[in-house]
Amino acid sequence: MLPAECSRRLVAELRDALDSCAELQRQLEQSLRVSRRLLRAWEPAETPAPEPTPGPEINEEAPSSACPPSPQDLKELELLTQALEKAVRVRKGLSKAGEGVKAHSLKSGSTSPATRASAPPSTSHCAGSCAPGTKPPRGIRHPWVPAKDLPGRRLLLVGDGAHMGKGAGANKPEAGLRDQQIIPQAAPPVPEAFTLKDKGALLRLPEAFRKAASRNARLWAQLSSMQTGDSVDAAAATAKTQFLQKMQTAAGQPGSRLSSAEVGRLQKACSLLRLRMREELTADPKDWTQEYRSLLTLEGLQALVGQCLHRLQELRSAVVEQPQGPWPEGPPRAASPCGGGADPMWSPQLLLYSSTEELQTLAALRLRVAMLDQQVHLEKVLMAELLPLLSEQEPLGRPWLALCRAAHCLLCEGGQRFLTVLRDEPADRLSPP
């Protein structure tokens, strides 16, 4: 067993790592859900039609612009529909010969030539169509498709007059039952459910959205160009500097404060230097000029590292000297390897890829780098905790051996493989440890 303090620290570190992964996983799963849903067939109620520009007419069921029916009404409708379907079945059975090309079918599985990618039951269809909102203000129009030739014409789809224009011309906007409720019925030219694969190229973004997006881009561009000063800006900049100075002198405290920017610079220096060293050490010099150049570079890097260390020492001694004030304890700040945080101003930047493999390689590499980063951090933490522990424990007994073996696994093999310990005893028995 590990001592309590050590355990707590290590468990906390590992749990932090697990939590970070879990958060990433959560975000990923959300994106996956959305993407998968987009690639499936879209619910008919949500199927978009192209804006009043060319494109094949998509006859679909339409949501009602009336108020949504109550659940009880839906149930009644369901019953009515079933009764109708039964009637049709009976009729069909009776007059099979004379039916001919009565292809218009009800939702129940009759032999309809129309392909139906998805045939949701009428009630849910109804519910789905009752999306809130009246005529959608975007290019999503849902034409009513009145029922055609329902036997007996007892029930007809009643459409909103405004919607009537669209849709198959042959449909009869019969007055029939002027019912405020939706009576979704057979959609004889049964609409194919919308899939991105087949009809994705027909989509168009709505007008309002396009306007807002372009205005957004324009405003950002204006804001960015303001950074490069004009006269108004220069005056404001001077005023700000003066204000800051005044604040500083009005305060009682000595002005010299370490900027964390300095530390950020040093951290960045460290990572750049390390990267460069890695490049030099792995390069393969082909001739003596390259060898010499490599040698000079390494020596130069060494000098730079020395400079950085010197500067760091200076900073640290300055930190120790200053008295701590009555400020509340602040949270530790995470160091950002990018050196200074994000750009203050957003600007549209693109990442261009030409094949899915390219994208997958990039994404996988990103994750791998993040994982390695985490592993290096954990390795350092484990080393700091476990190695002292092992060297402290004197009784080299069984538990210590087990600890050693486990530590070796964690520290040297990334927790993946174990070594074996064999006791090298001569034939005659030794006393157990």
Binding site: L10, V11, A22, L24, Q25, L28, E29, L203, A212, N216, L219, A239, K240, F243, A250, A251, L258, V263, L266, C270, L272, L273, E279, L295, G300, L304, L312, L315, R316, Q324, W327, G330, R333, A334, S336, C338, A342, P344, Q349, L351, L352, Y353, E358, L362, A364, L365, R368, V369, A370, M371, L372, D373, V376, A406, G415, Q416, T420, R423, D424, E425
Partner: protein, 438 residues
């Protein structure tokens, strides 16, 4: 009768300029109180303080990595009427300001219940505004992303874990096998992440190629998931549009603020003048510096870690240089006078190289390209004239970093191996059989 009106600059204009500037500021910042509150704050009126504490909290938290740990009460409705700010939040604001280097002590002396200090808070806000482009930064942070974004810089793919789940504190001693188990769990999670990520990329690729030609913006060419989703789900689309329009309003306010801010700074000078001068070095006993804190919020731990890294780097370089220098000395000889000239040329070239490297971190912007998430765009390969980063280039950069990290990990593991070998070497009579090499 009346005097003849002379054409003078209307004093009413000048009087209007300040409220308009403050109004613009109030419209662009999140959760900002009305301009009236600002005016009252100058005179240190009590009703100004809670609103300004809240404003500072909302302004500082998006930009701070650990804001999630301080519980957030969402502000609905006019900020003045929202629930009073919590003590924890007040303390948090104080500590963040301190870590950024706020010079005035009067701030920390304000009571934690957030009832006083309107003027001091106004000064703090002005201080933040003077130091950098604060409204722009906030807007960038909350920018409505319309595309499928992927960050490609070296920034951590792992953000801070978010609000930590209420976790039962580790009871104390654990067996090392528990640690091994946690490690295994971690590896499994990574594997799942990688698999999921691959799938997501495949789906994105499909969506992008199916919607090719749909976008009104020719340079993008296809729709993103967000845009396609708004077509599928009109309600979600409405909300997106609303957020976009809110952002547009804030952007316009920010532009207006930039035009008008001069008069605000003049006013702030007067505010500062009404403050009593702070006493020279306050008479308090300096606290013993705790291991976690340092001046200007530089954790000593951070500096220590950096020092260790630099020292490790130095050590590795020293060994490499020694080895190569020795090899070079042995090999050199038999090089004629042209060697001297060549050597000088090489020295100059290397010096320039290293100077460029040093410049990269000395300057504020070390990156050749601004970093941050980028919008994914699927396009034909190598069409000239496309402005943007190519995935292949980004991959190259990441590979270098990957190699670097792998080397670091192996080096650390090697160190451990040596150390453990030393420890167990003490005990004879045991054979350590390492696992088979991969």
């Amino acid at each position: 009768m009346g005097r003849r009106r002379r054409r003078q600059p209307d004093p009413a204009d000048a009087a209007r300029a300040l409220p308009e500037a403050i109004a613009a500021l109030s419209r662009t910042l999140p959760a900002a109180p009305s301009p009236e509150i600002f005016r009252r704050a100058k005179f240190d009126r009590p009703e100004a303080a809670p609103a300004l504490w809240r404003l500072l909290f909302h302004v500082l938290s998006p930009l701070s990595a650990d804001s999630a740990s301080v519980s957030f009460t969402l502000v609905d409705g006019p900020p003045e009427l929202a629930s009073p700010i919590a003590e924890a939040q007040v303390r948090w604001v104080k500590s963040v300001l301190h870590s950024q280097g706020y010079p005035r002590l009067a701030l920390v002396q304000l009571q934690d219940d957030g009832s006083q200090g309107g003027r001091e808070l106004l000064l703090a806000l002005a201080w933040l505004l003077a130091r950098g482009p604060l409204p722009e930064r906030l807007l960038t942070q909350s920018h409505v992303r319309l595309g499928d974004e992927m960050p490609v810089c070296e920034c951590e793919a792992l953000a801070s874990p978010g609000p930590p789940a209420p976790r039962v504190e580790a009871e104390g001693s654990v067996d090392i096998r528990h640690l091994q188990w946690l490690m295994g769990k971690l590896q499994l999670r990574w594997r799942n992440l990688m698999a999921g990520q691959q799938e997501q990329c495949a789906l994105l690729g499909k969506i992008h190629s199916y919607t090719r030609g749909c976008h009104s913006d020719r340079s993008l060419g296809h729709l993103s998931v967000t845009e396609t989703e708004l077509l599928r789900d009109p309600e979600g689309g409405r909300q997106l549009l609303q957020r976009l329009e809110t952002e547009n309003a804030r952007l316009e306010a920010a532009l207006e603020w930039r035009h008008r801010e001069l008069v605000f700074w003049r006013w702030m000078d007067t505010v500062l003048d009404t403050c009593p001068l702070e006493a020279s070095p306050p008479t308090f006993l300096p606290r013993i510096p705790e291991p976690g804190a340092g001046a200007a919020g530089l954790p000593v731990r951070e500096l220590q870690a950096l020092q260790e890294e630099l020292q490790a780097l130095q050590e590795e370089l020293r060994k490499a240089v020694e080895a190569r220098r020795a090899a070079w000395q042995a090999a050199v000889g038999g090089h004629g006078p042209e060697w001297r000239a060549a050597r000088r040329a090489l020295q100059v070239a290397v010096a320039q190289d290293l100077a460029a490297l040093q410049w990269a971190w000395e300057q504020g912007k070390g990156q050749a390209r601004p970093h941050g998430p980028r919008r994914l765009v699927r396009t034909e390969a190598r069409v000239p004239g496309r402005l943007g980063l190519w995935a292949t280039e980004a991959t190259e950069a990441l590979r270098a970093r990957e190699a670097c990290l792998e080397a670091m990990l192996h080096q650390l593991q090697g160190q451990c191996r040596q150390e453990l070998a030393r420890l167990v070497g003490v005990r004879p009579g045991l054979i350590w059989v390492p696992p088979p090499a991969r």
